[in-house]
C-alpha cells in the first residue's frame, strides 16, 4: 500500500514569486519523514506540491518532477483529483465539514466519490475511526456534528477522514500546532501506528516532535526574505539532530536562529 515518492528539481511559484527552488529528495515508504525549517521557508508549499494541492491556489504553479513509484504526478494526462485520492492530507487547523455528522465526515471522501452500501460504509468508518484512535470516544454519537468535538478529537477525525479513502501516502501539515500537549501526544502515537501502513510526511515547527516521530528529517531554509526556500539537507533523524552535515542545520536545531 505505501509507496515511495521521488522528487527531482522541483520549483513552486505563487504568481511570479518563486516560493521554493530546486528541491530533490526521496521519501521512503512505511516511514515518517519530517520537514523542519523556519516560517516561510516553503515546507508547507513543498508538502502541497506532493499531492497537487499547491495549484488550487489561483496563480500557483509547479515545475519539476514528482514521482510516486514510477508515475509522474505532474504528467500531462494525470488527473489531479486522482492524485489527491492517492495521497491524502491533514491540515494545520482541524477542518471537519460543519454541515456533516461525525459519521458523514469520515465517510465524506467515499460518499462524495462513489457509491458504497451502508454496511460497507459502516465498516470503513469504524475501521478509520479505530485507526485514528477516535472510535471509543465517538462510537455512541456518530450522528452528532463533527464540529462539536474538541480540537484534538477534530484533528483525529480529519485523520480518520483522510485514511478512510485508503491513500498510499499521508501528508500532514503541522497537524498538532493547534492542539494541546495531550492531544498532540495522541496524534504522535497515531502517526507511529500509521507508518506501518502508510508513507507519512509531516511538516512541523516542533523539533522535539520531529525527533520523536520521524525516521528521516529534511531541513529547509531560505537565504533571505523574498528568496525561494531550499532544501538544506535530509538525513536520518538521529543524524540531523546529533551531527548534521550543514552548519545552518545545526544553528537551527540548537536554536541559534529561526
Amino acid at each position: 500500500m505505501a509507496k515511495q515518492i521521488e522528487v527531482a528539481g522541483l520549483d513552486a511559484y505563487y504568481g511570479s514569486h518563486k516560493a521554493i527552488e530546486g528541491i530533490s529528495m526521496t521519501i521512503e515508504p512505511r516511514s515518517v519523514t519530517a520537514f523542519i525549517g523556519p516560517s516561510g521557508c516553503g515546507k508547507s508549499t513543498f508538502l502541497r506540491t506532493l499531492n497537487r494541492m499547491h495549484e488550487v491556489i489561483p496563480g500557483a504553479r509547479v515545475e519539476g518532477k514528482v514521482r510516486l513509484e514510477d508515475q509522474d504526478l505532474y504528467g500531462a494526462d494525470v488527473d489531479p483529483v486522482s492524485v489527491r485520492r492517492t495521497i491524502g492530507m491533514v491540515f494545520q487547523r482541524p477542518n471537519p465539514f460543519p454541515t456533516m455528522s461525525i459519521f458523514d465526515n469520515v465517510a465524506a471522501g467515499l460518499k462524495l466519490n462513489g457509491r458504497f452500501s451502508r454496511s460497507e460504509l459502516d465498516g470503513i468508518v469504524e475501521d478509520s475511526l479505530k485507526g485514528a484512535n477516535l472510535w471509543n470516544e465517538v462510537k455512541d454519537r456518530l450522528g452528532k456534528p463533527g464540529a462539536g468535538l474538541s480540537g484534538g478529537q477534530q484533528q483525529r477525525l480529519c485523520i480518520a477522514r483522510a485514511i478512510a479513502v485508503r491513500p498510499q501516502v499521508l501528508l500532514m501539515d503541522e497537524p498538532c500546532s493547534a492542539l494541546d500537549p495531550i492531544s498532540t501526544l495522541a496524534i504522535e502515537d497515531l502517526i507511529s501506528q500509521l507508518k506501518q501502513d502508510y508513507t507519512i510526511v509531516i511538516v512541523t515547527h516542533n523539533m522535539q516532535q520531529a525527533a520523536r516521530v520521524s525516521d528521516k528529517t529534511a531541513f529547509f531554509n531560505l537565504a533571505a526574505q523574498g528568496q525561494p526556500g531550499k532544501l538544506v539537507e535530509m538525513d536520518e533523524t538521529s543524524k540531523i539532530f546529533t551531527n548534521p552535515a550543514e552548519k545552518a542545520t545545526e544553528d537551527y536545531i540548537t536554536g541559534r536562529f529561526g
Partner: protein, 294 residues
C-alpha cells in the same frame, strides 16, 4: 504614600462624549423604528376590519363599485404564482452566477464585468424592468399580458439581490473546507455541490427570502405586464392576472370607503404572506442546521 501608577479615572469630557453618542445612537434607532411601527400599526388597525374568510376566498368578480364584500383571492393566487415563478427563474440563475463569481471567476475580466452589471441591475428602478418586459416580451414577441410576464419582470429585480447575497455567503465559506474536500480527491464541482453550498445554505436562503420580500411588494412592473383583473385566473401563462400590490393600488384608487378598506386588508395580507414565507424559510434552515442534531 500611594504609588503613582499613571492609571487615571475616565475623564469627565470622555464620559460626557460617551453619553452624548449613546443618546444619539438610541435616537437614530428610534427614528428608524417609528415609521416602521407606525406603518405596521396603521395597516393592522385599518386592515383587520375586512380580514375575513370572504376576503381570503372570493374575488372581485361581480362586485359593483358601491358594493361591500368582495375579496382578494385572485390577487393572493396571482402574487403567489408570480413570486414563485420569478423565484424559479431568478434563484437558479443568480445562484449559478454567484458560484461562477466566487469559485471560477478568480477576479478575471469576465467576472469583473459580471459584478459590474450586477451592481447596475441592483440600481435599475422596478418600473424599468416592467417596461423592458412590456417592450420585449409583450410588444415585440407578441405575448399576452400574463402572470408569467410579471414574473419575468420580477425575476430581473430579484436576480441581483440573489447574486449579491449568495456571493457574500459563498465567500464566507472557509478556504480550508474546500481544500479539505479537494485533499480527499473530490472534484471541484462536487466540492461546490456537496460542501460549499450546504455550508452556505442558511445564508443563501436568507438572501433569497430578502429578494422575495423585495419583489412581492412591487407594483409598477406588474402594472405593465400582468395588467389588472377582477376575476380569478389561476393560469399564470395566459391572460391578465392580479397581484396583491396591484389589488391595493387598484382598490385604493377607488372612491368608496369599502374599496379603501379592501386596500388596507390587501396590504395586511401581503405583509402576512411575506412574513409567512420568511417563517417557512426559517423553519427550513433550522431543520437543515447542524445545531438541531446536537
Amino acid at each position: 504614600m500611594t504609588v503613582q501608577t499613571g492609571i487615571q479615572p475616565i475623564s469627565a469630557a470622555r464620559r460626557a462624549k460617551d453619553r452624548f453618542v449613546q443618546v444619539l445612537v438610541y435616537l437614530a434607532f428610534a427614528l428608524a423604528v417609528i415609521p416602521l411601527l407606525s406603518v405596521l400599526w396603521l395597516v393592522v388597525k385599518n386592515g383587520m376590519g375586512r380580514f375575513d374568510m370572504e376576503f381570503l376566498t372570493h374575488s372581485m368578480r361581480n362586485i359593483g363599485a358601491r358594493d361591500a364584500g368582495g375579496g382578494a383571492y385572485h390577487a393572493i393566487v396571482g402574487t403567489l404564482e408570480q413570486v414563485l415563478l420569478a423565484s424559479l427563474i431568478a434563484v437558479p440563475i443568480g445562484l449559478l452566477t454567484a458560484v461562477y463569481l466566487v469559485e471560477y471567476g478568480e477576479g478575471g475580466r469576465l467576472s469583473r464585468t459580471i459584478s459590474f452589471f450586477v451592481d447596475v441591475m441592483t440600481g435599475v428602478p422596478s418600473v424599468v424592468s416592467g417596461l423592458f418586459v412590456l417592450a420585449f416580451w409583450i410588444l415585440v414577441l407578441g405575448m399576452p399580458f400574463s402572470g408569467f410576464a410579471g414574473a419575468l419582470a420580477l425575476s430581473i429585480l430579484m436576480m441581483p439581490v440573489v447574486v449579491r447575497s449568495a456571493e457574500e455567503m459563498l465567500r464566507l465559506v472557509p478556504r480550508e473546507l474546500r481544500e479539505a474536500s479537494y485533499a480527499l480527491g473530490v472534484p471541484k464541482w462536487r466540492t461546490i455541490v456537496k460542501v460549499v453550498l450546504p455550508t452556505a445554505f442558511t445564508g443563501i436562503v436568507t438572501g433569497v427570502m430578502l429578494a422575495v420580500a423585495r419583489v412581492a411588494g412591487e407594483t409598477a412592473p406588474l402594472l405593465l405586464t400582468v395588467f389588472i383583473t377582477d376575476s380569478i385566473n389561476v393560469d399564470p401563462f395566459n391572460g391578465p392576472q392580479m397581484g396583491l400590490p396591484l389589488y391595493v393600488f387598484d382598490q385604493a384608487g377607488r372612491p368608496t370607503d369599502t374599496a379603501i378598506d379592501r386596500a388596507w386588508t390587501g396590504a395586511l395580507t401581503l405583509i402576512l404572506i411575506v412574513m409567512l414565507l420568511n417563517l417557512v424559510a426559517r423553519l427550513i434552515t433550522w431543520w437543515r442546521s447542524p445545531a438541531r442534531r446536537r
